[in-house]
């Protein structure tokens, strides 16, 4: 075996024709890192290909004056705005919501808020409970041990006893302070008689997993300059690398290869200069999330799999769910220091999470309070409720909002429609000339009604908490990065892409471990569930390694 361990760029890749890794992983984000860490710990040689590169906390701008400016380009969540060579563009002319993502070691965890809610038990049983969509082939109870383990592996700060969930293990760290604005919101929720709870975040409240305790910059979603947020480049990859993993950066996978028996044999990837490389492996794991995974499987069409790899069901790329996320902003007379983090969530509510069909719609939503940002974010909030101002009026608007406001973000459930999908675009390509994904997503009338209901209730809550004014955003800017459902799991190969452990029905040594496998969307930030599913899949791979069919 000549494959070098450790992390290096694709142009340095060398391997002999006879080299074969135990497991090839595509994507170094939350799910890929979770699998890599677990398998490496169990002695398997993992090679991970990541099209992005490492990002050092010192590169983040959150504690510099130009922070808000940096979001206009380099640190935007939208790959079409960021336009880095390692990004792939998304064709979104037929998308009501443009997906956001990040391509780097850490993937979406570079840009997420570290929000760490679990799905509710009912999320796995919507068909049985309400006749909606489909049940998952697994239950909340089956996932529970993996949720618990990930709370430790990522470093969750939370308060036990939340009545929105069944009893669960105590997180390894206490919840962060809810701050002045969180208390204000909680008082309003108590007046309404509605549920709220200090919210869980994978943001360090003490030194843990290589993370440094949070100092509340409140910029989590643009990368934590203090190294406090559990992005997996900090929490997982160093451990996987110590255990012998290989992580190749700036490696863009073009195709997953198969043999004459229909088993995956590895992948072809391109380095930044366009040179082609090949890596062979016994097992291939795709961890590129709901857009990237569907794109790669469709790009991997072959004579044997003409509709795309693992796509005999025709469902690869279909049933895309994005969790439409509206937001209301409360503006208060009191000074609340509401730029203080984490951001992150400080209070959440599951009062209207469960389906109640008497409301005229199905599914529900979760609410989270967040800090409202700096001067430019304040000006944006003011402009949303009126005209863009200049001069002294602009400064007055900023004074009114800055430190006096809070965001109440509403993550809503999303029905899986086969018409909402990821395809390959015929014209648009990435910097390697590979087809870009075309996103076709129409927000349905159920979402419209669900959003209207939740925004009305959220306004009531904010006014009850003393807000003088509430500003509506029917869609939160640059949100969400929830890319779900495009390779769903299930027991029936005719109606699902992977089985209950993420193994492809069509290709028995191909696993999918990211948000693609979701059967329904839930109505929370999905990363803790993605990571729990990934850990469960990795555990299964270890347990069943002796039975695993591999290429000859």
């Amino acid at each position: 075996m000549t494959i070098r361990r450790g992390t290096y760029e694709a142009s340095e890749w060398r391997s002999a024709a006879s080299d074969r890794a135990d497991v090839l992983i595509v994507g170094a984000g939350a799910s890929g890192a979770t699998v890599a860490k677990h398998l490496s710990r169990h002695g398997l040689h993992v090679v991970c290909l990541e099209q992005g590169t490492w990002v050092a906390p010192g590169e983040y701008t959150g504690n510099r004056p130009e922070y808000e400016l940096s979001i206009f380009g380099r640190w935007s969540k939208n790959p079409n705005t960021r336009n880095l060579p390692e990004d792939y563009p998304c064709e979104t002319s037929q998308a009501d919501i443009a997906p956001v993502m990040y391509n780097a070691v850490g993937g979406g965890t570079i840009h997420y808020g570290g929000m760490w809610p679990r799905f509710a038990p009912s999320d796995f049983r919507l068909r049985s409970l309400h006749g909606i969509a489909d049940d998952w082939p697994i239950t909340w109870d089956e996932l529970q041990p993996y949720y618990d383990q990930n709370d430790k592996d990522f470093g969750c700060a939370g308060m036990p006893g939340d009545p929105a969930f069944p009893p669960m293990a105590t997180p390894p760290m206490p919840a962060h302070p809810i701050n002045d604005y969180g208390r204000k919101f909680a008082e309003g929720m108590n007046k309404m008689g509605w549920h709220w709870w200090p919210a869980p975040n994978v943001i360090a409240a003490k030194p843990i997993n290589g993370l440094i305790p949070c100092v509340r910059y409140g910029v989590c979603e643009s990368g934590c300059p203090n190294g406090s947020k559990a992005s997996v480049d900090i929490t997982h990859w160093p451990k996987a690398l110590r255990d012998g993993a290989t992580l190749v950066t700036r490696a863009r996978v073009r195709e997953i290869l198969v043999d004459s028996r229909g088993l995956a044999t590895g992948a072809i990837f391109l380095d930044p200069a366009g040179h082609e490389h090949r890596v062979s492996a016994d097992v291939v794991v795709v961890a590129a999330n709901g857009v990237g995974t569907a794109r790669l499987l469709l790009m991997s069409a072959s004579t044997r799999f003409p509709a795309g790899l693992a796509n005999s069901s025709g469902l690869v790329g279909r049933r895309l769910m994005l969790n439409p996320t509206p937001m209301v902003v409360g503006i208060y007379a009191d000074e609340l220091s509401s730029w203080l983090g984490p951001a992150g969530q400080n209070v959440h509510s599951f009062e209207f999470y469960e389906t109640d069909q008497s409301r005229g719609h199905v599914l529900g939503g979760s609410w989270v309070t967040m800090p409202s940002g700096g001067p430019y974010a304040s000006a944006e909030i003011a402009a949303q409720s009126g005209e863009r101002a200049f001069g002294s009026r602009l400064l007055d608007q900023v004074r009114e909002v800055l430190g006096h406001s809070m965001l109440l973000c509403i993550v809503t459930g999303d029905l899986p429609h086969s018409t909402n999908r990821v395809e390959l675009d015929a014209r648009l390509t990435d910097s390697s000339g590979l087809p870009a994904p075309r996103i076709i997503y129409r927000q349905d009338s159920n979402s419209d009604a669900l959003i209207a209901f939740h925004m009305a209730r959220a306004r009531e809550a904010l006014f009850a908490s003393g807000a003088e004014k509430v500003v509506d955003f029917t869609a939160m800017p640059d949100q969400p990065g929830h890319l779900l459902g495009t390779a769903r799991m299930g027991d029936d190969p005719a109606t699902s892409v992977v089985d209950r452990f993420g193994r492809s029905h069509d290709v028995p040594n191909l696993f999918i471990v990211d948000g693609s496998v979701f059967v329904t969307s839930g109505a929370v930030s999905p990363t803790s569930t993605i990571a729990a599913l990934a850990l469960r899949a990795a555990d299964h791979m270890v347990q069943r390694a002796v039975d695993q069919l591999v290429p000859g």
Binding site: G62, N63, P65, E66, Y67, E68, L69, S70, F72, G73, R74, P121, S122, F124, S128, L129, T139, W140, P163, A164, F165, P174, A175, H176, P177, I178, N179, G182, R183, A186, E187, N190, G193, H195, W196, W197, P198, A205, P213, C214, V215, R216, Y217, W339, F350, E351, E354, G374, P375, Y376, A379, F390, G391, S392, L394, L395, V398, R399, L402, G403
Partner: protein, 147 residues
Amino acid sequence: MPTEPALTPERAELLRACGSLMMPAEDGAPGFTEVDADGQMLAAAAVYAGPRLAHIAAAIESMPGSGLSERLDAFRREQPALYNYLQEILICCYLSTSKVWELVGYTGRRPRPPAPGEAEEWLASGLLDPVRKRGPIYRSPAPGSGR
């Protein structure tokens, strides 16, 4: 193959002048060039926005008109999305300067680690009691049970 336009000092100056037109000193509020006197914030914007600002400056240069004000008006009519992008990034430059922070009472992002006991303090006076008293609200997966 076309080359990317560069943000030359002349084009940077043009964008700065656009900032002045959009945000002149008025009603006691300082103008754009006053708050970003050394051009550092605009330079930072150029770094983070990549080639976009150079494209915009080149497009404004190519607009018809006898002066910058007329060319900027023409740019707004012909390229409203890019005009809006320019306007927002210039407003963001303006609001990111220390002079404006002083005027709006913003100290910037500084480390504010929680004090010992602070998390408990915000929950004092039984804030969570009504939530606990109400009990579980999740729906059991078994039909007919739970909430």
